[in-house]
Symmetry: C2
Subunit: 327 residues, 2 copies
């Protein structure tokens, strides 16, 4: 991204004596890695620096260096010269740290998402939607700060890039992503162990649940519609929790013929949570909207009233009529 | 790798007028991409160049530019000044092209595996076991040849690197891997579409089979041993072929507690093909050898006589006794 916003953020960090870097709620590898890299860099420069993550650090990120220093709620009486939202825009997505951000003498946003809110509230903004991960922007900020890239910071940033690019394969990857990864790998951050920690240390129940669900996967319209359902009985049989369905829908999207892939999950309350993916010809957002949901063109979600079999019949009938109309 | 072997191979390619680049049997993305990149480069330099792949080009690699030019058997009467084995060492692994390699006036090996055979038979060798893929070595050869990196060659080489590194996450990835990927991406080879073509265009039956098998996955020794079996009935129910079991064992290895992960597949002949993976504390090769198989420390295979349930009982009992003995 352009030099100026990076240089201005770097100057502000250098001028501050106490800093808070805030992650978004439901934190992922990019918000955590980016915020933790910034905090470590600030501490290496002799500053007081905290990371705030309202939802803590999920188990799959427990390997991140200095994770034990991440705050789940603001420390009583703590005051900061500068508060930065990292990989997020909008006070309400900072959870318990929203008020600290609102009250900060200087409020910055470092992010790679399309900016949405609080235009007038943000003092400094280093946002670049062409970056594959916020970690790429942080890489530039740290370079401007002339902080040495140690293995801890390199691990933080590699985690951000790896998780936000699905290990260098999503469409957001650009040549520069690889150039940054080279530097991080040189500094000792190998992608292999990070990938293993994040994606390959699953409970047995996750694998079992995946099997139970995919064993009953179905297709119609000559494979254009592919779907599977997760009932409460599946959760019980596998001994699995709600969040262990994550990623199952991606298996359905790998079917070559699929124009629409759907996972339907019966919630504890008895309604049906739908994850919808399309190959691009059908508009997932438009379909989800019909059922009161939303999202993007190729990935969207909605919630239907139960029971599961009725919701399944209704949604699949809708998809089949759309798929049949495709040329 | 060192400059000299690269320069010598490049000189030999420049001096030859007709060239044959040979893939190994059961070709993967690296042997195909590397050989096809070399052949295209040679043709751009005005030479006659063929690619020989005894087992053709598997469907998942059908997107590779110029795949229709790959030969499955030698053309009658074809003679070459130089024949190179690419991503392979050993005439017998060249299938139908072994004789052409043996008879070549000049025989070269370009490879990143540990060299094994035919020391005296090889005229030129560009081998570097520190390269993540043979495509990395070919990248250097093409640079020495000063061939412009067009999008076709970049796609060939990116395919080699992507498939041999599991999308930049295996332990063979080095900083230079990313540096080369940056150049290939700059030349127009995005990893995303390649990944999708190779790994995410599966038949419905593959996803179904995965589900049927994982739905019955089991664990013992407090999760240290994790396994699943594929019966002939599973193949029938899913409508799947033998090769569609590929990758299933990797799901079992993602269980955090697993010291050993095993997939047992009933073959058409009625015996039981075993894929064994370990987390490193148990020696997969040693275990496979007990049953007449072999492999490496963390990945090995063997074949047991059927029926499936007896083979399962025997192998799992062996693994359980080893797992229980672990500290």
């Amino acid at each position: 991204m352009k030099r100026r916003p990076i240089a201005r953020i770097a100057d502000a960090l250098l001028n501050a004596r106490s800093l808070l870097f805030c992650c978004h709620v439901n934190p992922d590898g990019d918000t955590l890695g980016s915020a933790m890299a910034l905090a470590r860099a600030a501490r290496l420069l002799g500053k007081r620096a905290d990371v705030g993550s309202s939802d803590g650090v999920p188990d799959i990120y427990r390997f991140l260096p200095e994770r034990e220093r991440v705050l789940k709620e603001p420390q009583p009486g703590a005051e900061y010269d500068l508060v930065a939202a990292v990989d997020v825009d909008g006070f309400e997505r900072l959870g318990a740290f929203g008020p600290a951000a609102r009250q900060a003498p200087l409020y910055a946003v470092i992010d790679h998402h399309v900016s949405s809110a609080e235009e007038g509230m943000v003092d400094l903004r280093a946002c670049d939607t062409s970056a594959a991960a916020t970690a790429e922007i942080v890489f530039d900020v740290l370079k401007a700060l002339k902080v040495p890239l140690d293995v801890e910071i390199a691990t933080h940033l590699m985690t951000g890039i790896l998780t936000d690019t699905g290990s260098f394969r999503f469409s957001n990857v650009r040549p520069r992503t690889f150039a940054i990864a080279e530097t991080l790998a040189e500094a000792g951050a190998h992608p292999g162990p990070i990938f293993k920690e994040v994606y390959e240390r699953r409970p047995f129940s996750t694998v079992k649940l995946l099997g139970l669900v995919l064993a009953r996967c179905r297709q119609s319209c000559r494979g254009k519609v592919v779907w599977a359902v997760v009932s409460r009985r599946d959760f019980e049989e596998a001994g699995a929790k709600e969040e262990e369905t994550e990623g199952i829908v991606n298996h359905l999207t790998t079917v070559a013929t699929a124009e629409a892939a759907v996972l339907m999950r019966e919630t504890l309350k008895g309604d049906v949570r739908v994850s919808l993916r399309t190959a691009g010809r059908l508009d997932a957002q438009e379909i989800a909207r019909k059922f009161g949901g939303g999202g993007h063109r190729m990935a969207a979600g909605c919630t239907l009233p139960g029971p599961l079999d009725r919701a399944e019949a209704e949604l699949i009938a809708c998809l089949e009529s759309l798929a049949q109309a495709l040329p």
